[in-house]
């Protein structure tokens, strides 16, 4: 059965309005001279964008965020992809480890992960606590399922055993097979995992705030600081965050040809 046109239109229009108005409002707010007394902005200006993007801290935090997101995505790619291939090829039982890790990653809230890492690693003489290193590992923990899911889906969709056996019968080693045979076949999965991790970490606030604080300022930290004292410049930063999230998500949709990713695992920097 279908919903009739009248109700369908009303529901979809309300849904669209709820999802889009906050984003549009933030965008217009960021280019308005003043918009807190009148129905329409009193004038348009690029002043706030100019001001906020020319600060040194803007470039620094953007670079930090870019760096930690890239590092997390690369590190997770290296940690997960060979292991997932192995699990699919030789050790299907071990898939349960990946599932447990994914469930824990979703099930341990950011604040609790931060607290437990501080508790445990502050008593251990490793260069972790209070350095960006611990943030890297925490971000890897947080975004583990975002890398594993797409890679596992991609591995499920190809015949891992036949490809591997063909490669090995031609003299290819396990490592060569992974690099030259399997990887090219699961590129969309690895790529969308990479992008998902990237955008998740790019938006990450909780772990950064609690684990490294002011020592390693990222873009979301910078944004929150601005919301406290200059709304218009903050709105420009918020628009940038939205654009990054939209672009990355659209890229993923484009790469995987629409929704290869099950929802449920996808919860970013709440």
């Amino acid at each position: 059965m279908r919903m009739n046109l009248f109700w369908r239109s009303i529901i979809l229009i309300l849904f669209l309005a709820f999802m889009i108005i906050p984003v549009i409002a933030t965008l217009i707010f960021s280019i308005s001279t003043r918009w807190d007394r009148t129905l329409l902005p009193e004038g348009l200006t690029l002043e706030w964008w100019g001001k906020v993007t020319t600060r040194g801290a803007f470039r620094l935090t953007l670079r930090n965020s870019f760096f930690i997101s890239l590092a997390t995505a690369l590190a997770l790619g290296v940690l997960v992809t060979p292991a997932a291939y192995w699990a699919h090829f030789r050790n299907p039982k071990s898939k349960v480890i990946f599932e447990i890790m994914s469930a824990l990653s979703f099930g341990i809230p950011g604040v609790i992960l931060a607290l437990s890492l501080i508790r445990f690693y502050s008593g251990i003489p490793l260069p972790l606590i209070n350095t960006p290193n611990i943030l890297l590992f925490a971000c890897m923990e947080l975004s583990f399922p975002f890398m594993y899911r797409p890679v596992a889906n991609a591995l499920d969709s190809i015949d891992v055993r036949t490809l591997t056996e063909a490669s090995q019968s031609l003299g290819g080693s396990w490592f060569q097979t992974l690099l030259r045979v399997i990887l090219p076949n699961i590129t969309p999965g690895v790529l969308s995992g990479f992008l998902l991790v990237f955008s998740t970490v790019f938006a990450e606030f909780t772990l950064t705030n609690l684990l490294v604080g002011a020592r390693f300022k990222t873009f979301p930290i910078y944004l929150v600081e601005f919301t406290r004292f200059d709304g218009r410049q903050a709105s420009a930063l918020a628009v940038i965050s939205f654009v990054v999230a939209w672009v990355v998500s659209l890229l993923i949709i484009w790469i995987t040809g629409r929704r290869a990713l099950p929802a449920g695992g996808r919860v970013a920097g709440r």
Partner: protein, 290 residues
């Protein structure tokens, strides 16, 4: 060199233990950054001056902290139930649409916005529904005064902001199940004399129940663990569990270590129970679909 050593190992793949070797880095990562930290948190919460004790738990739950738990649970139940109900309705409206491009565009929108949250979202809601926000101004111009009865910086405002990520998440979670409802079932029900209400009540809903319930658990956990949105929107004004734990970590509130850990462990149990419930129900839903 590497290639060679892997080749020689390859020969021994018949031995059972060997198949676990390539997974060692992953297992070490999980033990080091998931299991040991959480176990040490639990053991520290159970440790008092005289060894193992529950005293931390007794002392941690002051009326103020109990209030935080009540607020967090209420917020999570509210946004999860609203998310489940509204998300299902919107998802159904989406798949009822006859135009393929409308469907694709709306699903893409839900897909993209599932990933939103945190600081930018909270700020967008301040711009939209703050005391001088655009919707506030529009409503004022037609004679509806949101303020001072409603405040975006309150727990109600927070619920509204949470709905912004709960709704699309629910849509993505329930779409596969809704698409699994076959047209023939509806036709059969109608032919047997049912009306649309009876079809939903006796055919569609019973089929959807496991998916709806499991999605509820996911949405609950999603909301209970959320921190960045709440912190940006309401700061320390709204008393919820994650905000309290965070302020303990930052040392804004002085509290013995064991007490903070007890709070964290109780919250962790709540969220993990939800995730467990989700996995169990989702497994059942998947099996019944096959």
């Amino acid at each position: 060199m590497v290639t060679k050593s892997i080749n020689s190992l390859e020969l021994r793949t018949n031995q059972k233990w060997f198949i676990w070797i390539p997974l060692i880095p992953l297992i070490i990562f999980s033990i080091g950054f998931q299991i040991i930290p959480v176990v040490s948190l639990i053991s520290s919460s159970l440790t008092g001056k005289q060894g193992i004790t529950l005293v931390n738990y007794q002392r941690a739950f002051t009326p103020f902290i109990l209030d935080a738990f009540r607020n967090s649970i209420q917020l999570s139940i509210t946004t999860a139930s609203l998310g489940v109900v509204l998300g299902t309705i919107v998802a159904f409206a989406i798949i009822s649409s006859s135009k393929k491009f409308v469907q694709d565009a709306l699903i893409a929108l839900a897909d993209v916005t599932t990933n939103f949250g945190g600081a930018p979202l909270a700020f967008a809601f301040i711009v939209t529904l703050g005391s001088t926000g655009i919707i506030t101004l529009v409503l004022k111009s037609i004679g509806i005064f949101l303020y001072p009865n409603f405040r975006i910086y309150s727990i109600t405002g927070l619920a509204l902001a949470y709905l912004y990520f709960q709704l699309p998440l629910m849509i993505m979670l329930i779409l596969p199940s809704l698409l699994g409802l076959k047209k023939e079932w509806w036709e059969a029900a109608i032919n047997l004399g049912a009306n649309n209400f009876k079809y939903w009540r006796y055919v569609a809903l019973p089929i959807l129940v496991p998916s709806l319930l499991s999605s509820f658990f996911i949405l609950f956990a999603n909301s209970f663990g959320a921190y960045a949105t709440a912190w940006t929107l309401t700061g320390p004004d709204v008393n919820i569990v994650t905000v309290q734990i965070a302020s303990l970590i930052r040392g804004e509130v002085q509290l013995e270590i064991g007490l903070a850990d007890a709070l964290a462990v109780v919250s962790l149990c709540i969220v993990l129970l939800c995730v467990g419930g989700y996995l169990w129900l989702a497994g059942r839903a998947r099996r019944s679909r096959v």
